[in-house]
Amino acid sequence: MILSQFIFVPLFAAFLIALVARKRENIATAIALIATGWIFIFSLIAFFKLPAEAGMIMKTTSGWKIPFTIALVLDHLSAFMLIVINLVAFFSAFYAIQYIKHFTGKWNFFALFMLMLAGMNGVALTGDFFNLYVFMEISLISAYALVAFGTESEELEASFKYATMGAITSTMILFGIGILYSFTSTLNMAQVGQTIQANPSNKLLFLVYGLFIAGFGLKTALVPFHAWLPDAHPSAPAPISAMLSGVLIKTLGVYALIRIFFNIFGAPPVVLTILLLLATLSIVIGGFLSLVQWDFKRLLGFSSISQIGYVILGFALGTKLGILGGVLHLLYHSIFKSLLFLDSGAVEYATGERDIRKLGGLAKKMPVTSFTNMIGTLSIAGIPPFNGFFSKLIIIIACFAAGHFVIGFIAALASIVTLAYFLKVQKHAFYGESKLKNNFEKVPFTLKTSMIILAVLCLVSSLLLIPSVRQTTVQPIVDAVWNATQYIDKIVPFLGSV
């Protein structure tokens, strides 16, 4: 298994697009599609090859032993993230083929898209703190540029807001890495973890916790750090919104938080408590702010804050059941949220309108979009046969099992709020009378295909809960998170001596 291909294939595609496809846009599309398809297939292969490799593949780069070089580490959590990233990326790229016709600069779009993908894959795979920072910056910088892709006033403003906040917190993360280096004298994650867990009472660690929670918390859009998300996510073109809400906040935010605080720092109780609080706040505030939105994509953005709160809540409970719920909700949310964003993109493509008060009666004109949107709505609101129900149920049960009755109650109530604001969308946008002013354009083929497949996945992914399937797929991921020292123990034998 060549682990570095997850990074160099998209990078190569991006550079190739910039070299040969500046004038020929179809080539850009073809390159992007081949590259995303390639790594999607390999990410699936990687996941199912893992059990044969004792749950961990570690590859060093440039031929030296760790910690003298950078290691790429594939364990179940990374492989899971790779699948989520590349699944959404593939369908977004496929969707974008025809969607992007309304914009100029197709090759810029696909090159930046591939760079963002490479950055996220790098974050999911790397086993080195500084490398994490570098790849994070790659995906963030391309995200800033993609948010401003339409170059309208609002988009530029949202991008500037996102870019300044992102840059400030990235600097904080780098400061944290510097402090870690000062007393561990290494950058390899496993070795840092080994050193820290030998001496966990160091006061410097609290400073590091603070810097990392602010840094990665902003990337996750947890509540005190959420201000950028409702501007940035709606401003981007729809496939990018799907990528940002679907996977970027999860890779740079949730995954990085989980990897660092659970596997490296050994889940310190202080951090878990803080995360629990922030997650609850996110659920409530995100939910209630969505209620008052009339812009379709903005509503989805606020709803992302609320849903990401559920994911973090699951993990922050620190119990096996909670982590199971968190992992499932992470996967499910990336499927249905990207589906909903793609739906909103289709509506915008067809009508040129995002304000749901000015829409109406779309169910007849856009049957596919309307139907898939209905499925997305039912999933995100947690209606039984759809996937969102199961993950939310598990998280709420885990809350009660862990004794956090109030939080469990809040989470259950917020789920009803979710249903309320999505029914508002259904009522105003898809049913009722049409209030459209613009021309109506037909929704093209690639848009429909992507939406239908994601809608099917909303149903199919519930099958992961069947015990025999769960045992081989989800359980190893949960173990990788829950068993805090497993990551370190597996890498330590590879460490070379000075």
């Binding site: 550079f15 910039a18 003298f68 950078i70 760079l115 500084f130 170059t151 290494t186 000075v498």
Partner: protein, 179 residues
Amino acid sequence: MPVELWLYFILTVMIVGSIACLEIKNILSSIITIGIVGLALSLAFLFLGAPDLALVQFVFEILCVIILIRAFAKRSVKLTALKRDIPETVIAVVILAGIFVLSIFALKELPSFGKPIVSVAERYLTKAGMETGSQNIVTSIILNYRVYDTLGELTVLFTAILGSMTILRKIGRKKRDAK
């Protein structure tokens, strides 16, 4: 004069320069002041035994200042009449002061200046020349041991350039025809 004294001096210059840069009301002076801060940093790198960085910081600073001046000062862009929002500033200063006081306790535990824990890097210092054939150890790290980072670094630059080009397109959306 020991290195520490020089560094106190340089850091004071940097802090004063930064505050000045943030408070000056003229855009050109502000950009030039940050140039001075950057050059002071370059000097600090020289004292700390990092000539590579001093060189890179120096040339990057020049490029940064030129870019900012050409982009803003040349266009006679006006800074806005900065009316200070007093309560907001006070709250920010109080919070930051709180963070500073708390950080004193944490930063006390850092290894004292001049006596770092060097474990992984010891290998580079003793064996890099033999193992990579490069006389400059920093180069041997960025281009051999941690060459993957440098790929990422190049990509960041590529992304930033592509991103700026994307943002500076005159027309982003194609017009759609209204009914």
